[in-house]
Subunit: 140 residues, 2 copies
């Protein structure tokens, strides 16, 4: 079982989430609805989770293939339904920037295995949104 | 468009996610797979997002109903598929503890509207998991 505890920190909407090891993160609502902008929005967490999940898989796969990944940066973007409540994501895109002398075919395979096969967050979001990806290798 | 940037902070899997206002959160993998436990796991973020989203709706609705909510604490639990990769959530439960002299019917309505109707994260997770909720009012 996975367990998360939430408590309110300040104002109406500033919340802290804590896992069973004591790791914490902050969420808050937009000032437009009375929030104080002291943390990510809940719907932003879904994109962060997708980026984290797919990146961890990519890093693991490249490590097994003895590819020396010097650094990795990821941008996740999402489009939500317009003028709806609830407003789900309709399209989500993950772009990976991979740094190092890396084999393009191995990177392509790692990224596709991650997003299309292994990542539990991607599979969850795919039920309601189109999830796509792209990558670039930077060997500077 | 919603946009999140991720970069690696340390080790193989310790990542930081940043939104467009500069709010940040940490993720990391389990030490079992080579992580260093410096943040929440990506799949834990989904539960934190669900708790945050539904709580913000509950707080808003009770405020409109002039209910004086002194504090709120939330526990979110999830069961994942066993021995599968990916391992999606199959059941997710949100339990709200609401503090104050609150009208039980109004709380019941706020909680059910939030989880069953308004919360975008709940609607996203419902596509692949059963999402349930419960609440208690603590007037001490």
């Amino acid at each position: 079982m996975v367990k998360i505890e939430l408590h309110r920190v300040s104002g109406d909407f500033h919340l802290e989430a804590v896992n069973e090891n004591g790791n914490a993160l902050q969420m808050d609502a937009s000032p437009k609805i009375g929030g104080t902008d002291k943390g990510l929005r809940p719907m932003q967490l879904l994109l962060a989770a997708l980026g984290g999940c797919s990146t961890m898989d990519v890093v693991s796969i490249l490590k097994k293939q003895r590819q020396e990944l010097k650094d990795i940066k990821i941008t996740i973007t999402g489009e939500r339904e317009q003028d709806e409540v609830p407003a789900l994501y309709t399209e989500v895109h993950v772009h990976f920037k991979l740094y190092g002398q890396l084999d393009k075919d191995k990177v392509e395979k790692a990224v596709s295995l991650s997003v299309e096969k292994y990542c539990s967050v991607a599979k969850t979001l795919e039920a309601t949104a189109e999830v796509t990806y792209s990558f670039e290798i930077i060997d500077a």
